[in-house]
């Protein structure tokens, strides 16, 4: 990737999925990873929800990252970023667990980003934390928030499956293929 700013495009579905995951587990911290096709400069980011319990434990994290890598390597995608939402709604700090995981990913992919879901007032806003400042996150489809509201009112968050759910019951698919059908 040549010089210049790296912009992060987030597809509507990716964005919605992350917020729905956080909504499903509103009394705990949640995390997930962002994927990218490293051969393009502007990356569309699909996302994968990881956990809502014990985010600081290594074994489930290792298993999930290995499985995600194995699955997506065949498609030429790699893990580019890390998404985290804190347990308390007004907590805008990245805790140590998030920092450690983020650093790990950053080591393998220097343009990695950490996204922290931070609720300010009644609207959900993204704050781009991590090695770069400034707001370089672009929502490809600006109507995403409207679609999100629609999903929230139909309680769509109950259908989000994360890796924790998969490890508890392997019949649940962490790829969430039917979430947006």
């Amino acid at each position: 990737m040549a010089g210049g700013e790296l912009k992060y495009d987030m597809s509507q579905n990716a964005y919605i999925k992350l917020v729905l995951h956080a909504l499903k587990h509103r009394s705990s911290a949640v995390n997930g990873v962002l994927l990218v096709d490293p051969t393009t400069t502007s990356s569309r980011l699909p996302t994968l929800s990881l956990f809502h319990n014990h985010l600081g434990l290594l074994p489930p994290l290792e298993i999930s990252l290995i499985m995600i890598e194995e699955y997506y390597i065949a498609q030429g995608l790699g893990i580019v970023g890390y998404f985290h939402a804190n347990e308390r709604f007004d907590d805008a700090e990245l805790d140590n667990v998030a920092k450690n995981i983020g650093d790990h990913i950053y080591r393998y992919f220097p343009q990695a980003a950490i996204l922290l879901l931070y609720t300010r007032d009644a609207s959900k806003n993204w704050k781009l934390a991590g090695s770069d400042g400034g707001s370089r996150l672009i929502l490809k489809e600006p109507a995403a928030n409207i679609v999100l509201l629609d999903f929230i009112s139909s309680q769509k968050w109950q259908d989000v499956v994360d890796f924790d759910d998969h490890l508890d019951d392997i019949t649940k698919d962490w790829l969430n293929p039917d979430l947006f059908k």
Binding site: S27, A29, H54, L55, G56, L57, L58, P59, P60, E62, I63, I66, M67, E70, Y71, E87, R88, D91, D95, N96, V97, N100, L167, D168, I170, T171, D173
Partner: protein, 302 residues
């Protein structure tokens, strides 16, 4: 802790009520019994009963329990007016009640008035220093303000008195894990395993913490606890099976080049791998190839 059967039962009941099939009171009693947190549903169904005078009077003395349950659910959903109304009703019926006083403290908490809430709890504790629920509310208060060290301090003081409270040991362990204080978390899980050695979740959590701590001794101990978790769950626990594979791989990495006799036998890992593959083939066949390549990447050539 809730078993899978209980959870399925609860979900079925919830679906039934949601689709107009009745059973709201049964659902609310079940939620109370299992102590699960389904505040949006409790609020919805509870209010539908409380706002209907006929349904309300048919509850008899259980009406007050429902008011309490709905008040707490309302606070969890930030419907503070509803909570205030329920508490007022309870206050009229039970003036000077400590239990209602507790609810008032929780309402202050829900509003974010931390100092007033703390004052309310402390005064309740003066009259009843062994009230477990109030002690736990003080911990929750500290946690809500992000003051983890204070929360830990309160929990430790609580456990000096109520050392058999396994839920509190679990809460403490989870806080330690979130702060990456793994040694302390391990201690909590050790206490839990000592108190209740046949609960597989404690073995599993302990093994996870040991693995996270790392180092050869911890990894070998982790392997033992993953094995006991597998034994206690009849081989059905996916996390424990994965844990075995991770441990074996990590141990092999650490002992590379050492004397061959010291190496563990590969039986355990192949058994775990086989069990995982069989389970995935049966229940998640689209993921079998991902599983296969993941497990292959874990196998370290000896």
């Amino acid at each position: 802790m809730v078993t899978k059967t209980e959870e399925t039962q609860l979900n079925r009941l919830e679906g039934q009520v949601e689709n107009g099939g009745g059973g709201a009171w049964d659902y609310l009693c079940f939620v109370r019994k299992l102590k699960v947190r389904r505040s949006d549903k409790v609020l919805k169904y509870g209010l539908s009963i409380l706002n209907d005078p006929k349904k309300r009077s048919s509850l008899g003395p259980e009406e007050w329990t429902l008011y309490e349950q709905v008040a707490i659910a309302a606070m969890d959903c930030q419907c503070l007016d509803v909570a205030k109304d329920c508490i007022n009703v309870l206050q009229k019926r039970f003036p000077e009640s400590k239990r209602v006083g507790r609810l008032e403290g929780m309402l202050l908490e829900a509003k974010g008035s931390w100092t007033e809430a703390e004052k309310a709890y402390l005064s309740l504790l003066e009259d009843n220093p062994l009230d477990q629920v109030i002690h736990k509310r003080r911990v929750a208060l500290a946690k809500a303000q992000g003051n983890m060290s204070e929360a830990i301090e309160f929990i430790n003081k609580y456990l000096e008195i109520f050392m058999a409270d396994s839920d509190t040991w679990r809460e403490l362990a989870e806080i330690y894990v979130s702060l990456q204080m793994y040694k302390q978390a391990a201690f909590c899980y050790e206490e839990l395993i000592l108190a209740q050695p046949t609960v597989p979740l404690y073995h599993l959590a302990y093994a996870d913490v040991l693995y996270t701590l790392g180092g050869l001794e911890n990894l070998q101990a982790a392997k033992k606890y993953y094995s006991s978790a597998i034994e206690l769950t009849g081989g059905k626990n996916t996390r424990a099976l994965f844990g075995i594979c991770l441990c074996t791989s990590a141990i092999a990495q650490l002992t590379k080049g050492r004397n061959k006799e010291e190496k563990d036998s590969p039986d355990l890992q192949s058994l775990a791998t086989a069990a995982l593959e069989k389970d995935y083939k049966q229940r998640a066949s689209d993921k079998v190839s991902v599983l296969g390549s993941a497990l292959k990447s874990l196998k370290v050539s000896s």
